[in-house]
């Protein structure tokens, strides 16, 4: 067995797998089966994703208490599949529920970047939408959408837990439409505001 140079007699399984994969891919594309399968898979992933939106355990200010109230027996967000996860790497939705200060702006962008695609952001409460009553403050950003792309806005100070659940419902409808589109590619979407009919 010579060690230098290629050994043409050896069975190279990796090359075989790649070759078979390429041939199958070409065949599927030619018969439009691949397109059909992507549509099906996309629809399935959308259905799975919107029925279980894992939200990050982030509680900034007062709206976090209403978020907690939405998870408790009276309003019960869990029946809609909304579960709170501690780590951003395991969550789908970043629910920003309070004003973002300059100190926290870096950290919230970092949390957003740590979340894997597809990910969505909900701005809950006036402080996250536009700075709220603190819009004149020297330390508060005017809305979280200055640093993160937001999908759904939930106005209120604080919004009732029913409004938060409605916000999740509107997010689910948005997921049906745009599904797995990456968060950087959603600029053309009209903003969804809860309560706007």
């Amino acid at each position: 067995m010579s060690n230098d140079g290629e050994n043409f007699a050896a069975f190279n399984s990796r090359a075989l797998v790649e070759m078979v994969g390429d041939v199958t891919d070409e065949a599927l594309k030619a018969t439009k089966v691949k397109q059909f399968l992507s549509v099906l898979a996309g629809r399935y992933f959308n259905w799975a994703g919107r029925k279980s939106l894992f939200t990050l355990h982030l509680g900034i200010k007062c709206c976090a208490i209403e978020m907690a109230a939405a998870a408790t027996p009276r309003f019960d967000g869990d029946r809609f599949g909304v579960l709170f996860r501690s780590s951003p790497r395991q969550s789908d939705v970043l629910l920003v529920n309070g004003p973002v200060s300059k100190k926290f702006a870096d950290k919230i962008v970092r949390l957003w970047e740590q979340m894997p695609e597809p990910k969505y952001c909900i701005a809950m409460g006036e402080c996250a939408i536009s700075g709220g009553p603190y819009f004149q403050s020297y330390n508060i950003l005017e809305g979280v959408d200055t640093v993160i792309p937001v999908d759904v806005y939930i106005p209120g100070c604080p919004p009732r837990p029913e409004a938060l659940i409605d916000g999740f419902g509107l997010l689910r409808e948005k997921i049906i439409r745009i599904g797995g589109a990456p968060s950087t590619g959603r600029d053309g979407e009209k903003p969804i505001i809860v309560g706007e009919d």
Binding site: K102, K103, A105, D106, V109, R110, E113, Q114, F135, Q136, S137, Y138, N139, L141, E142, T146
Partner: protein, 217 residues
């Protein structure tokens, strides 16, 4: 029925504190008076107008002779249009209350109406006027009461009053990388959209990039 400290107790405690202070500090520019609140039961409190030079002596007297327990609040104010001798003011609020460590399985049960002497809860308000200038300085009382520590840090952070002798001064509420001379509660800094003055360039903090930008996370 709920108990309460009566107005007579409060008056007598305030008067004895003021008498002790005036006796000790007479003629040095430190004045103490008995004042009354205008709300609730119009309780008495002790107001002391001190000078920066005598502040440490007054604080030590309050701690050791008047048994003041804790430094509750430190407020700094900026008077850019004030008189020459009061460009800045630092107001300390201290509290006195009867407290001592208890023997296990017991607790102290005060009957409010029976408290007397140094046991009567009392509020002290110390106002120190600092003359106009760019670097107001007041001696720090961090070594006397632990509670003064973070209060003084906050006052320096927000108002810019320097506390001489304070160890480990750092920003507590503003970001650590705020510009050195940025103390937001000074009067030359205006609110956003209020006269349309921004406090410093990049008021929104857009130019600030995270330290690990570009790295795969």
């Amino acid at each position: 029925m709920g108990m309460k400290v009566t107005l007579e107790q409060s008056n007598s405690a305030a008067e004895s504190c003021v008498a002790a202070l005036n006796e000790r500090f007479s003629g040095s520019g430190v004045e103490s008076t008995v004042e009354h609140h205008s709300n609730a039961f119009k309780m008495a409190f002790v107001r002391i107008d001190a000078t920066p030079q005598h502040w440490l002596a007054v604080a030590k007297f309050m701690k050791f002779d008047l048994s003041v327990n804790y430094c509750s609040m430190v407020t700094g104010t900026h008077y850019p249009d004030g008189p020459a001798e009061r460009g800045w003011e630092v107001a300390y609020h201290m509290m006195r209350m009867p407290v001592s460590n208890v023997v296990p399985h017991t607790n102290t049960t005060h009957i409010a109406e029976n408290l007397s002497g140094d046991d009567i809860p009392m509020e002290f308000e110390v106002r120190i006027a600092i003359e106009q200038g760019d670097s107001p300085t007041v001696p720090s009382i961090q070594s006397l009461w632990v509670g003064a520590d973070w209060n003084e840090k906050e006052t320096w952070d927000l108002v810019g009053i320097n506390f001489e002798g304070h160890k480990n001064m750092h920003r507590v509420l503003n970001p650590h990388d705020s510009p050195d001379e940025f103390h937001p509660l000074q009067k030359q800094h205006k609110l956003r959209y209020h006269g349309h003055n921004e406090m410093y360039d990049d008021a929104q903090g857009f130019g600030r990039k995270p330290a690990d930008e570009g790295r795969n996370k």
